[in-house]
Amino acid sequence: MSHQTTERRVNYLGIFIFLAILTLVETLASYLQQTTIKFPVLIALSVIKAVLVLLYFMHLKFDSRIFGYLFIAGCLLSIPLILVMIFVMPIIADY
């Protein structure tokens, strides 16, 4: 991996500044009263930030794809948990 970090020129400062701007936008957007706009915007900004960190700071964009698959596997394994929550939620709410 050592060769990869030296040969590739990535503007990490630019990515960091962009992430900081997105954080500021997120924070300001959280004060919006219209939840129909606020929720999707905040989720989208959060996903963009996480993907940027994964791709550039964690080098998934340049590394072997198998590392990315391992991370995606973790996300896929979480789906049953989410489904359980969806099914359990009405029961708990009634209780």
């Binding site: 991996m1 050592s2 960091f16 959060s46 700071f57 964690m58 590392f67 394994l77």
Partner: protein, 192 residues
């Protein structure tokens, strides 16, 4: 030329990175389950906004988020530095990461202390899932800080090189993952 000579050898050190990604994949499941507990509590209790969210200080936590993002940038700088054999650069950047890690934890302690004062505790409806998920994340940050200190101390004993600095890279993967978890928590707990 025989067939075996044409195979590009995979450096053994890459195995540790593979192991790190397997670990992070497991961590995804772990944190998703914790976040779901928080969301479940929040969804089934309609008083979330009045009883809990109104007590959270968004500007303070936004500052903490910025601190963690900044620390991630310095981790990348440390990795870049050792990638060109710049030992001093790597060490200085790691020291900044450690300082920012402690600063983040201090910010979290202030937030927790404020919530305790406002009557939110481990046994309250929203306190239990909140302190569990943010506490476990904070523990991860603390472990990351210890790891960075270990990397600094280890570098004195057996210095990382331009060719072999997998220890720093694996630490970086862990730290960035903890950053990603916070990005998600910041949105789901504090902003929405």
């Amino acid at each position: 030329m025989s067939e075996t000579t044409s195979i590009i050898p995979v450096p053994q050190s890459e195995n540790t990175k593979f192991g790190m990604w397997v670990f992070l994949g497991g961590e995804v499941v772990f944190f998703v389950s914790l976040i779901l507990i928080f969301l479940l509590t929040r969804i089934v209790n309609p008083n979330y906004e009045i009883e809990f969210r109104s007590l959270l200080s968004i500007p303070v936590i936004a500052g903490n988020t910025f601190i963690l993002l900044t620390s991630s940038y310095f981790v990348v700088r440390a990795l870049e530095a050792i990638g060109i054999g710049n030992h001093k650069g790597m060490r200085n950047n790691l020291i900044v990461v450690i300082a920012l890690g402690f600063l983040f934890l201090a910010g979290q302690m202030v937030e927790w202390a404020t919530l305790f004062r406002d009557g939110v505790n481990y046994s309250s409806t929203f306190g239990m899932p909140f302190f569990t998920v943010t506490g476990i994340h904070g523990t991860h940050v603390f472990i990351g800080v210890l790891w960075a200190i270990y990397a600094l101390v280890g570098d004195r004993r057996l210095p990382y090189t331009k060719e072999n600095h997998m220890g720093i890279e694996n630490f970086g993967l862990y730290w960035h993952f903890v950053d990603i978890v916070w990005i998600v928590l910041f949105t789901l707990i504090y902003l929405i």
